[in-house]
Subunit: 354 residues, 2 copies
């Protein structure tokens, strides 16, 4: 049984999207159980129409919900201890849930997660990891926007966190890890990235196959299982890729509606276009995973539909099933002290949402 806590109020559409999403998961993952947090008057009516979901769920009323445009500090001040977002996170802290999912605003969710769960003892800063579709399958890319900038040791933390996630999700013994840079030669790039590369090469971690530097075009190629970068470049890479995919989809639509013949061709090749749409479906890869905290939190895209929300919930399910948190703890213990003693940073400021 996997226990999943849900902030039902998060996202642009709230319970009208999150609950139908959960219903899909309930159907596809019979051993999932849900702890649902939200406003009674909004959740109950929707839940009542989804009896199969209701049967595997426990609902908890929360008066307060964090708004999509709340600043992290504001959300913390107003929503701490009592909002649906806080309660869902707290369920993980208290051991009532294995993983928490919210489509609420990223900055608030990260600030509350940090405040409630705290960063792991040997980690300085958490990261947000994304699943990146590649021509070879999928990769883990982090940090895609938890914090701006990272020193060499934080990049190495990200490498350890990301490779534990790759192991939990992709069932790879020793994931290959690359550092995102502007060239593959050792002499190029940011000083922090070069230093992290030097350390990773020298230390020779048993559970990481350190590949070296990778460039932006290696993301789509799937050159490595895990791509490590700081949050500014990572966020820009992620959004640039999403934007490019949308741009090409628009070109394709324009191209296919240009003439009678191309429209005919589109009809004949509809199966192929469905396949392509499936490949490019961003809903399927919805979900940013907060790593480095004492508990796993998954951020769903706020604007997604129920299928997209279901994908984020299933990502959380898979990671709980793959014992991601236990893996990370074991890894870190193994490496602890090997690289350096660390200072703990428990402040709740989150660059992504300052």
């Amino acid at each position: 049984m996997i226990r999943i806590s849900i902030d039902a109020m998060g996202g642009d559409h709230g319970p009208s999207t999150t609950l139908p999403g959960l219903a899909r998961v309930a159907e596809r993952r019979p051993d999932a159980r849900f702890l649902i947090y939200g406003r009674e008057d909004e959740v109950r009516p929707v839940l009542a129409k989804l009896p199969k979901l209701e049967a595997v769920s426990e609902f908890h009323h929360c008066e307060i919900s964090v708004r999509m445009d709340d600043k992290p500090s504001q959300a913390l001040r107003q929503g701490r201890w009592k909002s649906s977002m806080w309660k869902a996170i707290e369920a993980v802290k208290n051991g009532d849930a294995d993983v928490c999912i919210s489509a609420g605003n990223t900055g608030a969710l990260m600030a509350m997660s940090k405040f409630c769960l705290r960063t792991m003892a040997s980690i300085e800063r958490p990261a947000i990891a994304a699943i990146w579709p590649t021509v070879r399958g999928e990769s883990v890319v982090l940090d895609v926007g938890a914090t701006i900038g990272a020193d060499a040791h934080q990049l190495i933390d990200f490498a350890i966190l990301g490779s534990a996630m790759a192991r939990a999700l992709f069932d790879i013994e020793r994931p290959s890890v690359g550092l995102l840079n502007v060239g593959v030669e050792e002499v190029k790039g940011q000083e922090e990235v070069k230093e992290a590369g030097r350390i990773l090469r020298e230390v020779g971690l048993k559970s990481i196959d350190y590949h070296g530097f990778v460039e932006g075009d290696d993301l789509g190629k799937g050159t490595v299982d895990v791509v490590v970068t700081e949050g500014f470049a990572g966020n820009i890479a992620l959004k640039t890729a999403e934007g490019t995919a949308k741009q090409i989809a628009q070109y394709l639509r324009e191209a296919m509606s240009r003439s009678f013949l191309s429209k005919m061709g589109y009809v004949l090749a509809k199966g192929a276009f469905d396949f392509l749409r499936e490949k490019m479906d961003v809903r399927k890869i919805n979900g940013g995973v907060f790593l480095g905290l004492n508990g796993i939190v998954v951020k769903s895209h706020g604007g997604t539909d129920d299928e997209g929300f279901a994908a984020a919930v299933e990502l959380g399910y898979d990671m709980a099933k793959g014992k991601l948190r236990e893996r990370i703890e074991a890894e870190l213990q193994q490496f602890h002290g090997r690289l350096r003693p660390r200072a703990k940073d428990d402040d709740v400021t989150v660059a992504a949402g300052k």
Copy 2:
């Protein structure tokens, strides 16, 4: 008449690609004249087969050529004063050419360009600008890899350089300019970016329509005419977009060869696919423009074919015709002292190729 100096030896294929590329330009731009630099034994035989090009060209033998894997320092040491790359750049310095094109290695070309042409009096560091295809047309994006990192004032320099380029190429009176960031709110992002935004808003430059922050997905949307960022994030964004386009092209190929019907559909819609291919043709947007030096240098992709090289040459032609350099000088003079006094930095180290 536009006079163009060419390093014929640059690129993966040297004169066998660069000269046929020039021949295309000679056909399409009758008022272009070429100063060709390279090894006699390699250039002469190819040139002899292209009489129309030969008629509008002046060839100069250079014993030395910079290799694609030469380090910038090595290239400078061995190729300064005498290599085909140096001579082509020097032609711009001496006023013999209006613009210089090379497909040689970026680090070496930037190091030599800086050393030979020097940065403009009121500019601290040069940038490489790329033409970015968008759903609305084209944008200028800079810096895509000249240097790592940039402070607020350097970002503002880039905004001025980039908007002058947009004016020269797109014929826009007052280009809109955005700063690439991880969110559009004023409180988000790198300190340097926030400060640059504050200054741009306060100073209110007459020739720039400052839009505010933009995110990675705004690149493909064409939200602004000019996107400003530092070289690390810019290079990663550029290569991520290229990689994503290739990835989707591969998905499309796979999709279209899946079944008999989809193959039939492909045949019927061939015109549409040709249109799409045209839209996605990276050769058509080949050429990184070095801005901020006392002269315009265009870097062509090293691995491109003759049509791609021709596109880079024509980009240089268009900018010379659009009086880019004069525009930049006029702009800078206008702004000079308005923002701050500047320190001049003439060292030749180039982060992109250190």
